[in-house]
């Protein structure tokens, strides 16, 4: 739980959004601490983007509110906008302008004093390693460079909170890893609180201090990734086996969770090194055994009964299209 001595930079109170009959966000109460990297994780359509939209004052809450850096998102949207930076899911750079011009435009829109502007722009360009490409038209940038420039733009006016909506969407795996490095580095350098959404669970694990898992518009788990994984029971044992004696396995005292996927059993258990022989003696005809540490995705499966990656393939229209647009614009 949140330590009372730490300061909450964001506090939502029963934040709710309904679109017609669809309840996109159902009364979220959430405190985010100053200086942390907080990840909002969940499948597509879970309400991540809508939540971020409300916090950035782009979407009006149906009910409830939130306070960001002392400003109410419903009553003082102007002040909230000044104290947050946003990087959208889809790229929003002005591709007719150069990298530097994009930043100049942004600094004017956010009222960055002109005597500080050039110094600040140089500083932030340095941070994202784009100084030598700053005066090129951004149309010529690669996907990764564009993302970095957007990160720089989001931080230019020294916001208290930086929101990143799926910051690595549409990037290739290598660029994704580098982008996360930049995000970490910038959050540290600028001492900014970062709130991000992603459905790449593994990536979130490595970057986030705390994560909130969101499903059907509700936060269903909230803690440090390590603690969430520990709560799974320590280890995951994966068995490939014909006709598994499910009931027997479930009855074992050290087993906390069993899930069957296409003839494969995923068993969450404590101290696998001690209990594995016992488990194997009770399950006949095991073809294959694998042990691993649980991932956030396992946590998600336990909590929702579904695999976040299954959801992706079913409901991928939005992000595949977005990714397609990203690459298309690069050409």
């Amino acid at each position: 739980m949140l330590d009372g001595s730490k300061m909450a930079i964001i506090e939502t109170r029963a934040l709710t959004k309904t679109f017609g009959k669809i309840q996109a966000v159902r009364g979220i109460d959430l405190k985010i601490e100053k200086g942390e990297i907080f990840g909002l994780l969940g499948p597509n359509g879970a309400g991540k983007t809508t939540t971020i939209g409300m916090l950035c004052t782009i979407v009006k809450p149906t009910s409830g509110t939130a306070v960001i850096d002392g400003h109410d998102i419903v009553k003082e949207p102007g002040d909230v906008r000044r104290s947050v930076g946003i990087v959208f899911q889809d790229p929003t750079l002005d591709t007719v302008l150069t990298g530097r011009e994009n930043l100049i435009l942004h600094s004017m829109l956010y009222g960055v004093p002109s005597d500080m502007r050039d110094k600040r722009i140089d500083e932030i360009l340095e941070l994202v390693d784009l100084k030598d490409r700053a005066d090129d038209i951004t149309r010529t940038y690669s996907g990764g460079m564009r993302r970095r420039l957007e990160l720089a733009r989001g931080l230019l006016h020294r916001p208290a909170v930086l929101f990143l909506d799926e910051p690595t969407l549409g990037l290739d795996p290598q660029t994704r890893a580098r982008t996360w490095e930049y995000i970490k580095r910038m959050a540290q350098n600028e001492k900014t609180t970062v709130v991000l959404t992603t459905h790449y669970m593994e990536e979130a694990e490595q970057v986030c201090d705390r994560v909130g898992i969101i499903d059907h518009g509700q936060i269903i788990a909230l803690d440090a990734p390590e603690k969430l994984k520990q709560a799974m029971g320590g280890y995951m044992v994966v068995l490939r086996v014909k006709d598994p004696p499910l009931e027997t396995i479930r009855g074992l005292p050290y087993v906390s969770e069993v899930k069957e996927v296409d003839g494969t059993l995923e068993i969450a258990m404590k101290e696998a090194h001690l209990h594995l022989p016992d488990l194997l003696s009770k399950v006949p005809n095991v073809e294959c055994v694998e042990t691993r540490v649980p991932t956030l995705n396992d946590v998600f499966i336990k909590l929702t009964g579904r695999d976040i990656r299954e959801e992706e393939t079913e409901d991928s229209g939005g992000w595949v299209e977005a990714a397609h647009r990203y690459t298309q614009r690069g050409s």
């Binding site: 002040d79 000044r82 302008l97």
Partner: protein, 254 residues
């Protein structure tokens, strides 16, 4: 601090204007084509028709020169405004719209950007006035002033329509049923006196652009149907209406 806030809004307007100027600088070919098409009207159309008829005691080309100037202003302005549909499609506007600057300030930045664009074209076109006999070159600044008011009105109209559309499919419809009628019914190519049939006369008088053409023609050739102050008044009134409509629709735009 309301003073500081007002300055920030002005800076926001300036930022959007500055962006439009950068775009204009990079897309110079657009200037060439937007000047080329009115020149074709003047020389290819005007030259042909002018060989058969003369109007107002002077050449037909001199007569349509003010009309073609206003036509260039009309087309460039409305299409500049409509271009916002494209900006939204490419999400270029998204980052601008979440900035702590009011929609009204952003709207005025766009209008100023469009007007600058259009006025550069108008100034280029006004250089060709020396080729046509009967045009009072000293009155060109007055003509450009009327063009400027017209441009504000028409960019606002374009932005107003553009903020209602989400796709570019409406473009053809708008140009067929709005821009071309405005042009043909403005008296750009023919005099709007009592010789017109009643129905056409009525439509022409309802068209705000008629007063722009009449004003510019009055200034340059002295061939105005209405007093110039009335022309300026009518087009200014229309401009104020369009700014109100445009800021309202722009503020509601998602």
């Amino acid at each position: 601090m309301p003073g500081g806030r007002f300055r920030k809004e002005l800076l926001g307007t300036y930022a959007v204007w500055w962006r439009e100027l950068k775009v204009f600088q990079r897309e110079k070919s657009r200037v060439v084509s937007s000047v080329a098409s009115p020149l074709m009207w003047l020389f290819l159309f005007g030259g042909g028709v002018g060989s058969a008829i003369s109007l107002g005691g002077g050449s037909y080309q001199s007569f349509i020169y003010p009309g073609v100037l206003v036509m260039a202003v009309l087309f460039s302005s409305v299409f500049f405004g409509l271009y916002i549909v494209w900006d939204r499609k490419l999400d270029v506007l998204k980052a601008v719209l979440v900035a702590p600057v009011s929609r009204v300030s952003i709207f005025f930045g766009k209008v100023l950007g469009g007007c600058t664009d259009v006025m550069i074209q108008a100034v280029l076109l006004s250089c060709f006035a020396v080729l046509f006999p009967g045009i009072n070159l000293w009155m060109i600044p007055v003509a450009l002033g009327i063009c400027f008011i017209t441009s504000i009105a028409m960019v606002s109209l374009g932005l107003a329509i553009g903020s209602m559309f989400e796709s570019l499919e409406g473009f053809q419809v708008i140009s067929t049923f709005l821009v071309f009628p405005l042009f043909f019914l403005s008296g750009a190519l023919y005099p709007v006196g009592d010789n017109l049939p009643g129905w056409l006369q009525a439509l022409v008088r309802l068209n705000p652009l008629t007063y722009s053409v009449d004003g510019v023609r009055g200034a340059l050739l002295g061939l105005n149907t209405f007093p110039i102050w009335a022309d300026v008044g009518a087009i200014t009134f229309f401009g104020v209406l369009m700014i109100l409509l445009g800021t309202w629709l722009f503020s509601r735009m998602k």
